[in-house]
Symmetry: C2
Subunit: 356 residues, 2 copies
């Protein structure tokens, strides 16, 4: 099944623009390659998916994570589903596939947004010949991927323009190439700032419990030769105070109409700390993360994840058996703590999102 076009790739041959990619669709549309982020940074392994069920599992099991990345991966899942649904029940098959994909993770709005776009196309072209439908769905999914990379590059430029020379940035979780189609949202701004010669250093919160900062952000910035220092989440205040951090930049999983920002757990605390120290707190996210249908952060469902992520690391037990743990995957930073929201459509004050 697995086509000859497979990772590792040359940088010019991927939609991500890099030699690695969170996800790519094979040229024939028969397989999606999803980088297994659970194994990073020690191992670069791609999961090859040839069914929508396999794609859904990569999202559910966090092989791939990051709001834009799971949206693109879901679109690739629907491209694979479209190729498999050669009969008259095409639309019903695509609707079932969509339900499966949307149910995998509740908080990121990009997932529902990407699936909605694909389902719209499915409704339009359901009566077309099967090969044409499959080709069109693959092309839409690739467009969603391409648009996301372009959005990240636009955010990078807009975000870097906000930063002064000699910036030292703090970021939380991984809002990088691995969380998007490529280049990254928050890390896109970091990359653009580095390219513009404005960056002195980057501190990366390790981001417990899943360690996206320690494992992923550090890996991808080091890959690009950008000077990154990993700290624990509890070190943010100390480093802002003593190590000259000048701004915080993070991504987002859903932005409510009032500018409240749902992002990886721990973001809200960093925002409080940034405010206490009077440094700017920027959010970078594609417009697809803005959910004008959700009035405020209080209306955003916060995914609660398994206690095991907190009580164990690998095989090692960290918490005494029987002790309660609480493991929300996200928190909501109120708009009042957000200096600006950087999107590919422009930079907005959180209270002034267009279209609300």
């Amino acid at each position: 099944m697995s086509p000859p076009w497979q990772p590792p790739w040359k940088a010019g041959s991927t939609l991500s623009g890099s030699r690695y990619s969170a996800m790519e669709l094979a040229p024939d549309g028969a397989a999606a390659f999803v980088l297994d982020q659970r194994r990073l940074p020690l191992e670069e392994h791609y999961v090859t998916c040839t069914t929508v069920e396999e794609v859904a599992a990569t999202i559910r099991d966090m092989v791939v994570r990051g709001a834009p990345a799971i949206g693109i991966t879901a679109a690739y899942g629907l491209a694979i589903a479209a190729r498999a649904a050669t009969g008259a029940d095409y639309l019903a098959a695509l609707e079932r596939a969509s339900e499966l994909l949307v149910a995998t993770r509740p908080t990121a709005v990009n997932l529902a947004w990407a699936v909605g776009r694909c389902l719209g196309l499915a409704r339009e072209h359901a009566s077309s010949p099967a090969p044409a439908r499959a080709a069109e769905m693959a092309e839409l999914a690739r467009s969603i991927h391409r648009e996301d990379v372009a959005a990240c590059r636009a955010m990078g430029e807009l975000g870097a323009a906000l930063l002064p020379q000699g910036s030292t940035l703090l970021t939380h979780c991984n809002a990088g190439a691995l969380a998007t189609g490529g280049f990254g949202t928050a890390l896109g701004v970091v990359r653009a700032a580095a390219a513009a010669g404005k960056l002195t250093a980057v501190f990366a919160d390790e981001t417990r419990p899943y360690l996206q900062g320690a494992r992923l952000t550090a890996w991808e910035l080091a890959e690009d030769g950008i000077p990154v220092t990993v700290i624990t989440d509890g070190m943010a205040a100390h480093c802002i105070d003593r190590r000259g951090i000048t701004a915080v930049i993070v991504g987002a999983d859903r932005i409510a109409a009032n500018g409240d920002v749902a992002n990886k757990i721990g973001t809200y605390g960093v925002a409080c700390i940034a405010r206490h120290h009077g440094i700017p707190f920027y959010v970078a996210a594609p417009w697809s993360t803005v959910d004008l249908a959700t009035p405020t952060g209080r209306d955003i469902v916060i995914e609660e994840r398994a206690p095991h992520e907190l009580t164990h690391l690998g095989d090692r037990q960290l918490v005494a058996s029987g002790v309660a743990v609480y493991n929300p995957g996200f928190d909501v930073t109120p708009a009042s703590l957000v200096t600006a929201i950087i999107t590919e459509r422009g930079v907005f004050a959180p209270a002034d999102l267009p279209g609300r």
Copy 2:
């Protein structure tokens, strides 16, 4: 060497007041038993020390940690040194032992304070017969232990009196029985509040990188049947906002004359978050933690610990090889963020420490 009196003990037979103790001196003064906190919560193992070098290693290697606990352990080390130094070079031997002990950890002032008290006695009784010197030094070390437990119980009462009915507390690191002679500073307040029927729940930050909250605080509160929920350090803001935390209580490693508080890394961020949410931030510490000779927090040496604590957990590598990490062991919470300092001598506003 190991005397018949050894752990596990009955609660009435220890100075800690519990069936376990961070450290105890054998009745004959020949051995100190130090609970290996690195193995908790999975295993309750005591290291038996019969030389001051072995005692110093338990402090350096974090078999025992917590400012009051390492002070008491050091005093037991000097009791063992006093017993071994039977000759005319008694004072020189005790001075060498003191230097060894003080050099193990730089930030906690209690260590230097306890060693200073023992050295004062050594100077006074250097010309006494060897058995008398050894007995007196052992008795002083036990007094330091007893006084610390009494101080913790006094802090507990004073701190609990500050709290309203229905309190839900957040604590960071382990300022409990394991960090003291027994009962605990911040957890002494938690225990007294529970006994007074004022406590609804306790949240414990896991406290990366060393996980004192996940491993130690959760273990000792669960041992006492106090309802504790472990969260990651990044969840503090979310839990204050959504889970009804009414106050933060932490311990301290050194309190400067101006009321600035050095404590486990991560404390400062929690203080910023508490202030943002308008809830009180209490520090509980014995008077021996107050260092009037240190004018401000800027004058406190912050111990920087090995990168390995952050890059690895057990055998598991978390951060890509070659990536920089920064691992300060402590941070300084400015007096302006501290609601009150609870000591056995009374509750003080940080700007009003007596004797400054």
